[in-house]
């Protein structure tokens, strides 16, 4: 359905309270670590102290002899599974012959309580043969670098390479004629940019409880972004039928991409099978940093060129991304996203997916795009300076729009990039001059694909005409509200007349992850579809009651009508369901595609850099973003603000700081500093609404775009404040002093 202009919605665009709100402000909401089961015992994981080592021997006999220990598992207890990804998932959950990173799980113990389990962990003897680690993405690409996987060969368009390597894949994108393009340019700027491994930093550590019944029925309560993918991964790793695995999602305390894979679930399941008891496991913060999946460091060499009047002509990038200990970095998405904000005729990208002795990387909010944007948006800034053109106006002149070649070569549908830049040009922030010494302003654009994928919901009508909505996407930031609102809008009822429940994998059709900015979009489509199906079912039951032809019943603005007969949805429900009528249910399932209307944003930031300490303070920050249609504007703003502040942390402070042996030296929230209230100002927001033609209400995903522009915007601001171009993250006080004063 196409919505060229925003209709006059009744529920959409309002700001009702979220249905799960009271549970969450009173402490009643149950998260991953809050599940209690009768007879429950606690599990702990032994983790590798080495970044790279052969595991020669594991002796669990002393641990097994400790009073209170109920079960012990190692990688030898996992069935052998085939297929690259399945085998990697299995080895990542419990190591095989090699420890591939510090923090790699080696063994699991279940005991009467967590303290005893930890004592048992300390009694397990492991003989390691320590190997030299590979820790830097460019170092790992060298022919003489230690090889992490003897069997790994480079996959590329040319096929498989012949020699063992750490370069898992080489990808390429080629549009136009790059040499001809650069030959036409009057100004060319280039640079080398580097970002470090960073963590999603969700406040709730991974936690789950598993119960393996004697009949093979396995139930797992877990904090996850995707209960259905957890079911699949657990089933595959344990070689246990998927129909015998039931995942009950708890409330989830943040994820940002990091709570998609399984870590503890298969181990807890095995410990439960061995002990016959429900087994609860949760990570501590060091486990989370060292043993889960952050996003990898990157190295990007990039070059862009334009004519003297500011037309971008050509862009080239050489992008190397860390996949961690297994292939699977976000380089492909980074490469596809990099030039998406601009209409550039000639583009060439070489990308490399590289393994290093660090945790297997996972998605982190717009995976791959922030590092690409960090490089490109600084080059655009430099170009604007060289050409003497306002940096926003240069972006406006070259903005992508409907029909521009998008990622992978397909043209964009209706997008809002031009409108975002226009809103920035008109914003109070951009029109207020920044004054004072050591201060600078930066701007940057950002793009994210947004995905659709698969969603299913069930709806049923209650005797009082209210509607229950049953869905399977864990609510990570207000989606119970945004889905209920779309169903209410469809049915012409009040928001408060929808009651929503997130259920387990046995109780609703398949749902992909709560990720990819897809839940309000695709599960919203499913809710809309279920609503439309419900209206059809209502008409079928209403026709005999009203004694009219089915085809004569119309539904518009929340009212059923046929001739002189009419009634609101609730009145109709009273007729067909209320008085001992038949049950009235419907469902909606969608497979909503992959590229479903790109999301764009533009950020403006003012900073002040202390020349003596090198500390950067963010003075003012404005986020402008196209939401398509903002279903619940408060939660749209929340995504924009949250993404910006995660980006501020990434830009200024956050990094995995490794010693030369591959030990993370800052694996606590004290030393890995995410932003606090004192580090950021209020984050101003401007919601742009260019309805997405692929969604019945015009929704665009909003979850991820917000973390793409901050790295480049802040780097531009700091570069202007200090007079030195900042090409490496984080722009910590130490880095600033190194680059501005040459202090080592």
């Amino acid at each position: 359905m196409v919505t060229p202009t925003k209709p006059d919605y009744k529920v959409i665009g309002t700001r009702p309270l979220r249905p799960d709100g009271i549970d969450k402000v009173t402490g009643r909401a149950q998260y991953g670590n809050d599940i209690k089961q009768a007879g429950m015992i606690q599990g702990q994981i032994l983790r590798s102290p080495h970044a790279h080592a052969n595991i020669k021997r594991i002796d669990t006999s002393k641990a097994a002899a400790l009073e209170g220990v109920k079960a012990i598992v190692t990688g030898a207890d996992l069935p052998i599974v085939t297929g690259d990804t399945r085998a990697e998932n299995s080895i990542n959950v419990l190591a095989g012959a090699k420890a591939l990173y510090r923090g790699h799980a080696i063994a699991g113990v279940a005991a009467v309580n967590a303290h005893v389990a930890q004592q048992a962990i300390d009694l397990i003897e492991v003989e390691y043969e320590v190997l030299p680690p590979v820790l830097d993405v460019r170092d790992a690409m060298h022919a003489e670098a230690p090889v992490i996987h003897d069997s790994l060969r480079t996959t590329s368009m040319a096929g498989k390479g012949e020699n063992p390597t750490n370069v898992a894949a080489q990808i390429g994108f080629n549009f136009g004629d790059i040499e001809k393009g650069f030959a036409e340019c009057d100004e060319i700027v280039e640079g080398e940019f580097c970002t470090k491994m960073v963590h999603q930093g969700y406040i709730e550590p991974q936690a789950c409880t598993a119960m393996w019944n004697p009949d093979g029925q396995l139930v797992i309560w877990t904090s996850t972004q995707g209960s259905f993918p957890v079911r699949k991964d657990t089933s595959e790793i344990l070689n246990h039928p998927i129909s015998k695995v039931k995942i009950i999602p708890t409330e989830i305390g943040g994820g940002f991409g990091g709570k998609i894979p399984v870590y503890l679930e298969p181990v807890a399941a095995l410990l439960s099978k061995k002990s016959g008891r429900p087994v609860a496991m949760h990570m501590d913060r060091t486990n989370v940093f060292e043993g889960t999946g952050p996003t990898g460091g990157t190295s990007i060499k990039a070059k862009i060129g334009a004519t003297k009047d500011g037309k971008l002509i050509a862009g080239y990038a050489d992008m190397a991304y860390e996949g961690g200990c297994f292939p699977g970095s976000s380089v492909t998405m980074g490469a596809m996203a990099m030039f998406a904000p601009y209409d550039v005729e000639h583009v060439k990208i070489d990308g490399f997916d590289v393994v290093v002795n660090k945790p297997k990387t996972q998605d982190y909010r717009a995976p791959g795009a922030p590092a690409a944007s960090f490089a490109l948006e600084q080059l655009v800034d430099e170009l604007a300076e060289k050409l003497g053109i306002d940096p926003l106006k240069l972006r406006a002149m070259n903005s992508s729009h409907e029909g521009t070649r998008g990622p992978g070569g397909m043209p964009f549908s209706r997008i809002g990039q031009e409108e975002c830049i226009e809103a920035a040009l008109n914003s109070a922030h951009y029109n207020t001059p920044l004054e004072g010494p050591n201060r600078g302003r930066g701007v940057a654009s950002g793009f994210w694909f947004n995905v659709g994928l698969r969603s299913s919901v069930n709806v049923s009508v209650q005797p009082d005409g209210t509607v229950n909505l049953v869905e399977g996407n864990t609510d990570i930031g207000g989606t119970r509200a945004s889905l209920s609102m779309q169903l209410a809008e469809t049915l012409g009822i009040e928001y408060g007349d929808v009651k929503v429940t997130v259920v387990d994998t046995d109780s609703v059709g398949y749902n992909d992850v709560t990720a990819g900015s897809r839940t309000t979009y695709a599960t919203g489509m499913a809710a809309n579809k279920a609503g439309l199906n419900l209206i059809d079912e209502m008409k079928k039951l209403l026709a005999p009651k009203w004694q009219v032809e089915l085809d004569s019943i119309q539904f518009a603005d929340g009212v059923f009508s046929s001739g002189e007969k009419s009634g609101t949805f609730k009145e109709a429900a009273g007729i067909v369901v209320g008085a001992n009528g038949a049950g009235l249910t419907a469902s909606g399932s969608v497979s909503a595609g992959v590229l479903v209307g790109g999301g764009f944003g533009l950020h403006i930031v003012d900073v002040e850099v202390d020349p003596d300490t090198g500390k950067t303070q963010v003075l003012r920050y404005t986020v402008i973003q196209d939401a398509g249609t903002a279903i619940h504007p408060s939660y749209v703003e929340g995504q924009m603000q949250g993404g910006a502040v995660q980006g501020i942390g990434w830009a200024l402070n956050e990094e995995y700081y490794y010693d030369e042996d591959g030990r993370m030296a800052n694996s606590s929230f004290l030393d890995y500093r995410i932003p606090t209230t004192l580090d950021v100002p209020m984050i101003d927001t401007i919601i742009v609404e260019v309805p997405n033609p692929t969604h019945p209400f015009g929704v665009r995903g909003v979850g991820e775009v917000g973390i793409v522009p901050p790295l480049g915007a802040i780097a531009n601001a700091v570069s202007h404040a200090t007079g030195v171009r900042q090409t490496q993250l984080p722009m910590s006080p130490r880095r600033i002093l190194e680059t501005t004063q040459g202090i080592e």
Binding site: G27, I203, G254, Y635, G642, V645, M682
Partner: protein, 164 residues
Amino acid sequence: MAGRVHVTTRLNGEETDFLCEPRQSLLEVLRDVIGLTGAKEGCNNGNCGACNVILNGKLVNSCCVLGAEVQDAEITTIEGVAQGDHLHPLQNSFLENAALQCGICTPGFIVAAKALLDSEPDADEARVRHWLAGNLCRCTGYDKIVRAVLDAGEEMRKTPASTR
């Protein structure tokens, strides 16, 4: 059981006693012994504030206090912030301001903000930001949290402390 300590305390206004191991933190006691899971474990070393409780009028990280230390103490947890079915102004304000996304840090923020506003309901933005710097949130960017606390302060100034 041998080696356990018997502790009597006032928890959310009610006399409460429990047995704990000397090594168990107050957070473990609240969650695993007493069964109040509103205080959350985010870091277990005092850096995130998700386990905040008010102990004898002072805001503490319950992961950094031993259960055995709270003999005769007065403790308020998130479960004791609402009065019956009457939400505290902070709880209403967090809901109205959409000041939570995932909600895992919310109990800690509300308890921390209560500790501030009980004595300083007129705290301004700078004071609120300084006070809440020990509570980490990864979802919201803090904007709506700070606004929620400022709004709650305004609400609390309208009503005398005794009726809050």
